[in-house]
């Protein structure tokens, strides 16, 4: 597709979009089956936040990363064209450029340009923290269930799941996972999740941004209204970054009729045969 064509398509889309934002499911007259995230259910600060009998905020329901979703919409409207519009989904709350150590930055550059094959998402692995919340959750929602002992995150994307104990218990010593190990506790109305024990295989996005086994994340979930959660994640990794950095985004509640539509991911991988033979793939054919 030529650049001119892309720009033209972007402009057409932008022109139509300026007619006004119409919630997607209403625009297409879709049946009341699971639908795309709401454009209008933005951060709703009106009304008291719902609470559970134990007094804690009731975070339960279906949520998506609205900041990421809005960033994608903004790219579309800006007329940048399909390629760029489909590009980096990081919203404003993702602090690019990340503060890499020099050697780590070289690795990031290499992975971005030459080694998409080794992105763990390419193999249906769980994306890790905070990638799962910040990336695929822009479009594939996740469910939160609180059962007094645990806050459980059930992600649509690759049926990832995190069962987070609320007792602030200690991390295990000999445990290394793609999603790490999560331990939660309440600080007032904020649910704080401490995540460590990563196995060093996770990336942060499809553009080579990554973390290693020394990643440590502290997430904070705070309802700002009945339909919005302020999400902040402090990420530190002393062998990759010069200093810790923070993601800040808004999780918005999906429309009531939406449900998880399971994304099994792993079933019939056929893409490998069509990959351009990337250098990373040539250097190492395996995960």
């Amino acid at each position: 597709m030529s650049k001119a064509w892309r720009v033209r398509q972007g402009m057409i889309c932008a022109a139509i979009l300026t007619l006004g934002l119409i919630p997607l499911w209403q625009a297409t007259g879709q049946a009341p089956t699971p639908s795309a995230p709401a454009e209008t259910a933005k951060s709703d600060k009106s009304g008291a936040i719902p609470r559970l009998p134990d007094g804690h905020p009731d975070l339960q329901g279906l949520w998506h990363n609205d900041s990421g979703y809005q960033a994608m919409m903004k790219n579309m409207r800006s007329g940048k064209g399909l390629a760029v519009a489909l590009g980096d989904f990081h919203g404003e709350g993702f602090p690019l450029p990340l503060p890499y150590l020099p050697e780590a930055e070289k690795v990031r550059d290499y992975r971005k340009l030459h080694d998409p094959y080794h992105d763990p998402e390419a193999h249906c692995h769980v994306p890790g923290v905070p990638r799962e919340t910040e990336q695929p959750s822009s479009l594939m929602p996740f469910q939160i269930i609180q059962d007094e002992k645990y806050v459980v995150f059930l992600y649509e994307y690759v049926h990832d799941v995190r069962i987070v104990p609320e007792d602030g218990s200690a991390h295990p010593k000999k445990y290394w996972a793609w999603d790490g190990d999560s331990r939660g506790h309440w600080e007032g109305d904020t649910f704080v999740v401490d995540v460590s024990n990563f196995n060093g295989r996770s990336w942060l996005d499809m553009e080579g941004n990554f973390v290693d086994e020394n990643e440590h994340v502290v997430e904070r979930y705070t309802m700002s209204g009945p339909n919005a959660i302020d999400y902040a994640a402090l990420v530190e990794d002393p062998t990759v970054f010069t200093k810790p950095w923070t993601i800040h985004l808004t999780l918005t509640r999906n429309p009531a009729k939406d449900q998880i539509v399971y994304y099994d991911c792993h079933e019939g991988e056929r893409d490998v045969q069509h990959y351009t033979q990337s250098e990373g793939n040539k250097a190492n054919k395996h995960e």
């Binding site: 080694d115 269930i145 000999k174 995960e287």
Partner: protein, 281 residues
């Protein structure tokens, strides 16, 4: 002893035996579990089956290292899955080829009901109005939505589409959309995408639960059939559902990766990665 006395003794013994059996069944059926604030039975916790049905639902003779196992099929009473004649041939073919043909070899999610009797634990996550079952194996999960919400239609999920309702103390879950990519065990017992499963979960003691599943698939079985087994709750403080991922190994075989296996850890080595990169460019 007079005949009448013997008869009386026998009747008394029979009545006593019946009474005991009735009391046993009544005790099982009458176990009243703790409840959530809305009155529904509290199933929260980590549960696991202890049968070897994951090897073969129909049971197996004693084998090297493992004792004999009975069939978990309770209906039909002979413990055999009532296959249609051609389907039975397919099952036998699956059995012969199970070392390579079992979808679990590819780390596919195990489906329903197989995931409920795998040798790894699962967790009931439950609050008023919300119920999910989270499995260790392949981090599969099922969200049990209320029966009032119709099933999704025209799509298959490895773990099916679950709709639940309470009947007294029993959670009844209706499962459809299971597709045909899963087996029922490691012995080649299988189903088509017409499979419809109705599960019944009933606590029968403080940490025990009776699990029954009726399977209906007119293109594979002559009639519906039912399995039954007991699930046990693990109350140990360290019990958890650990992460379970798979990698496609260099030998071309999929391997589950245990997060407690030191080989799961990949320590960074930027020099090595950049050197390998330089060589291949």
């Amino acid at each position: 002893m007079s005949k009448r006395f013997v008869l009386a003794l026998m009747m008394a013994a029979a009545i006593a035996a019946c009474g005991r059996a009735d009391a046993q069944t009544a005790k099982e059926n009458s176990y009243s579990p703790p409840r959530l604030s809305d009155g529904t039975p509290d199933f929260r916790g980590i549960w696991q089956s202890r049968t070897t049905a994951y090897i073969n639902i129909e049971g197996r003779p004693a084998d090297s290292g493992t004792g004999a196992a009975k069939s978990i099929v309770v209906d039909p009473p002979d413990g055999k899955i009532p296959y249609l004649p051609d389907a039975l041939k397919q099952r036998d073919k699956n059995y012969r080829e199970r070392a390579t043909a079992d979808p679990a070899n590819n780390c596919f999610q195990a489906g329903v009901p197989r995931t409920n009797f795998l040798p790894t634990p699962f967790q009931f996550v439950q609050s008023v109005g919300h119920l999910a079952i989270v499995y260790t194996d392949d981090h599969a999960y099922r969200i049990v939505l209320p029966s009032s919400i119709p099933h999704d239609d025209g799509i298959d999920f490895f773990m099916g589409d679950s709709r639940g309702q309470w009947e007294g103390n029993t959670l009844v879950v209706d499962v459809t959309d299971l597709g045909d990519q899963t087996w029922l065990d490691g012995a080649g017992n299988y189903h088509s995408d017409q499979l419809h499963v109705v599960e019944r979960y009933t606590m029968v003691g403080p940490d025990t639960m009776k699990y029954e599943a009726t399977l209906d698939d007119p293109s594979v079985y002559t009639k519906p059939w039912t399995i039954r087994l007991i699930l046990y709750r693990d109350r140990s403080p360290d019990a958890r559902i650990a992460e379970d991922e798979c990698i496609d190994g260099p030998d071309g075989v999929w391997h589950h990766v245990s997060p407690t296996d030191p080989r799961a850890l990949r320590r960074h080595d930027f020099n090595a990665e950049l050197e390998a990169a330089a060589k291949s460019q």
